[in-house]
């Protein structure tokens, strides 16, 4: 998975994913400190991730391995909201 910050939303009325109730969030790739890296993608959110939260994003076909996304055209899915990260016994990120 990659780490990314939720920075916004992408709204589209005409879509061909047949997934109601799923939101598209604008996420910005970030490091383990939660610092944004200026590289954006659109990720499907089914967890209700909030603005500026650090999340884990699964890319590619594994993003179809959830009940809602089975056989759906999705290749970036938020699979977790991060509470804490530590590296070399040092906390690098705390929600």
């Amino acid at each position: 998975m990659i780490l990314a910050k939720v920075v916004g939303t992408v709204v589209c009325s005409s879509r061909n994913d047949s997934m109601n109730g799923a939101r598209y969030l604008l996420v910005e790739k970030s490091n383990q400190h939660g610092e944004r890296k200026g590289d954006y993608l659109v990720a499907l959110d089914v967890l209700g991730a909030g603005h500026d939260e650090l999340v884990m994003v699964t890319e590619g076909s594994p993003s179809r391995e959830t009940p809602l996304t089975t056989n759906k055209p999705v290749d970036a899915l938020i699979v977790g909201i991060v509470d804490k990260i530590d590296e070399n016994e040092q906390v690098t990120y705390m929600k």
Binding site: C12, R15, L41, S61, K72, D75
Partner: protein
């Protein structure tokens, strides 16, 4: 999914038989803050009726075959949505027809 602007279409009469009747769009990946094209182009199969000038996003890899249009086709890129607006940090960076 990756955001892009539809900058044109690609027409091919001599092609793999399975992909007849599918529209190919020329996409330029964009930075969602500046809305500028990155000059990084891809040809993507249209599954949602997008046209030149539209801001869209597309799926890549095997997920591109999970639309009714591209099912069972040799497709690794499919446009699945036309974007109405993009909001970042509370402000719109893009609004259709604005």
């Amino acid at each position: 999914m990756v955001l892009a602007r539809v900058v044109g279409t690609v027409v091919s009469s001599h092609k793999s038989q399975k992909i007849e009747g599918i529209k190919f769009l020329l996409l330029d990946k964009i930075d969602p803050v500046s809305m500028k094209g990155k000059g990084d182009f891809v040809v993507s199969m249209d599954s949602v009726g997008a046209g030149p000038g539209d801001i869209v996003f597309y799926v890549s890899g095997s997920s591109a075959r999970n639309t009714d249009v591209t099912e069972g086709k040799p497709s690794d890129s499919a446009v699945i949505a036309i974007v109405d607006h993009i909001e970042k940090d509370g402000a719109f960076t893009y609004q259709k027809n604005r």
